[in-house]
């Protein structure tokens, strides 16, 4: 038993060294962020931007990546120091740990891309009142879904249904005839709204532009995770085998699997398409030269929002305490500006409809209604 005591003594010693070293560089005794001193950010503007990744990795071709790209763009425009941390798991405690790490390391603005951060933010917004936080797709609450958005937090929502609508419309117009399917990740509101919007977009094209696109309930599936690449591939393969021409994959890593399947088929001459999600996934779908199997992407402009939030913080205009919704109205959602796989007239029609959504002529429902799943 003595040796374990010894180990604890060693640990205590380690603590003495690491815990109480007098020349600590950035953090004072209480773990409060001290003034920025000595970190290599001399020329940089006086804002350090951190991000904690949601489930998945920084290169998830989705939320994490989009947010990080926005941060990187802002960093190069304004000369900021940035960093992202990846939590060990997906619990509130682990999110709080990583946010605490960024705060302790002196970061001023922390972006949390995902609803899973809701309770973590509820905890930290009070604990670190001098730090600014942005959360996507959610708002801080104590586990009871009663929003408590402090002055240092901005909560950002997107109108996924509008984005899905535009994606569905563009796909239907381009295909004119055929069948489409949907692969979702987990059955969470954001993904559901993409799905429902997508169906409305397809129906809108069928009714108003004479397209003949079939939607079969069998081909609207939630895989259940955001990371099962193999399952995404299998689901897509099954759908393509059943004659589906284009699949809307709103599923993170699962969608990556679907894209891989489509690429493999396209390389062998089959004509299959994927409608991307969250960010412009065109480059991810390239299988040969410049050809991509991404027909278009139903985007949430997370990168732009990240950029805007950083810019606002720099100008002392951080909209703390607000719950913001980004929709077509404020250009928060949409399809990419550049769609090599869409005809010009399709893009033109989408632009027209975009305007109709903006002025309220077309209202895309965020509810299931009569739609599939």
């Amino acid at each position: 038993m003595k040796k374990w005591l010894g180990l604890f003594l060693v640990l205590a010693l380690v603590f003495a060294v690491f815990g109480c070293s007098p020349d600590e560089p950035v953090v004072d005794e209480n773990g409060e962020p001290a003034e920025d001193n000595g970190e290599p950010a001399e020329e940089a503007a006086d804002l350090r931007v951190g991000m904690v990744t949601d489930a998945g990795t920084i290169d998830d071709k989705s939320f994490n990546q989009g947010t990080w790209e926005g941060i990187q763009l802002a960093a190069s425009d304004f000369g900021l120091e940035t960093r992202y941390l990846q939590p060990g798991g997906e619990t509130t405690a682990e999110y709080i740990t990583e946010i605490g790490n960024l705060v302790d390391a002196g970061f001023d603005l922390i972006i949390c891309p995902g609803f899973k951060f809701e309770e973590a933010l509820y905890e930290v917004q009070g604990r670190y009142p001098d730090t600014m936080f942005v959360i996507y797709d959610g708002y801080p609450h104590a586990g009871d879904w009663d929003p408590v958005v402090n002055d240092n937090v901005v909560s950002v929502f997107f109108a996924e249904h509008e984005s899905g609508f535009l994606g569905g419309l563009a796909a239907a117009l381009q295909l004119e005839e055929g069948e489409v399917g949907f692969i979702g990740g987990m059955e969470i509101p954001a993904v559901q709204k993409f799905n429902w919007g997508f169906q409305q977009g397809v129906l809108y094209a069928n009714e108003n532009y004479g397209t003949n696109i079939v939607m079969n309930a069998d081909n609207f599936i939630y895989q259940g995770t955001f990371d099962n690449v193999a399952a995404g591939q299998q689901l897509a393969a099954a759908m393509f085998d059943k004659g589906v021409d284009a699949v809307f994959a709103a599923a993170g890593g699962v969608g990556v699997g679907s894209i891989n399947e489509a690429k493999a088929r396209a390389a062998e001459g089959e004509e299959v398409w994927i409608i991307g999600v969250d960010v412009d996934q065109y480059d991810d779908g390239i299988y040969e030269g410049n050809n991509s199997i991404i027909l278009t992407s139903a985007m949430k402009n997370i990168d732009i929002v990240a950029y805007d939030m950083i810019e606002a913080a720099l100008n002392n205009e951080f909209p703390g305490g607000q719950i913001l919704t980004f929709s077509a109205e404020n250009y928060g959602v949409g399809i990419p500006d550049n769609n090599p796989n869409l005809d010009a007239e399709v893009e033109a029609i989408v632009a027209e409809v975009y305007a109709l959504i903006q002025d309220g002529t077309i209202v895309v429902s965020a509810e299931q209604g009569d739609l599939i799943q």
Partner: protein
Amino acid sequence: MKTKVRVKKDFYMSFFAILLGLLAGAVLMAVTGNNPFEGFFYLFRGGLMNIERIGNTLATATPLIFAGLSVAFAFKTGLFNIGGAGQMLIGGLCATAIGLTFDLPKPILLTMIVFGSLIGGALWASLPGLLKARFNVHEVVSTIMMNWIAYWVIYYIVPQYFKGPFLETESQRIPEAASLKVPWLTELFNGSYINLGIFLAIIFVVISSLILERTTLGYELKAVGYNRDAAEAAGINVNRNIVLSMAIAGALAGLGGATFYVGFASNMQIGVLPSQGFDGIAVALLGANSPWGVFAAAVFFGLLHTGKGFMNAMTAIPPEVADTIIATIIYFAATSVLIERNWDKIKKINFAALLNRGKKDSLKAGSGGEQ
């Protein structure tokens, strides 16, 4: 007492393994263009720099202690329990279900949660035990499969019966009374998410240690683990011990699940296998399968996990490299088997240089008569 020599050797081996792991981590940092001293400084600082972080380190270690104990206990009986993750899920499910179903005073509810998760984990793990005992199904295969069964059971049950008002993907938050977090402890550790689980863990380290060292049950289990044939020939019911061992291992992992889902966290998410179930294997290896060794190893891993983010934040080491460094340390730390195999050489390295010269001299002098 009676295993003094062995424990001492195990301790040095684990210690050496950790050193080797840190060294490998240092090399990795250096290769990726970072300063290893700075890296390790912030790594350990991140886990230890104030009372809150120490609390977090312990809280992170808590489920690892249970997972490690679970694996170590099964190891002692010669079984390789890779089902820790699934058993944690089931234990966590039992805990969550009890917490969300009953409206009782905290002491009663927590007692129910402890026993509920313990029984749930035990039953879940005894199934592969039974399969092994009756049909000789290898427990590695069956426990892995049970992980996925547990995964999908959670996937079905949580949204179906315990779903929160909005999200499909996680359970309702458990009420205060069902949480292992208690205000005095949180305050003592300055807002840390440390919870009663750490005390439970210590209690079960002691219990495990007692069972293994002091009871006839432990004696039987170990006899079966070391030499199944001899145990059988001596009249020990091998099959019963296999089932029992898996059940105990499952009970420990189930408790780990409770400390994770109603202590560390406040709800259950679907679609996630807790990584602690697998890290438990490394913990058990590093802890040489001894309960207190597991405890120390888990705290060490907890320290790494807690400190990692701070290292990231303070240096330019990206999280992926940091994860690789942690994994490298764990990997090396867990390969004490390799070190054991080369133990004699290691000893030679340490002493050869020092002793050889003197030895040669004495041989030359012609004194060969030592006994």
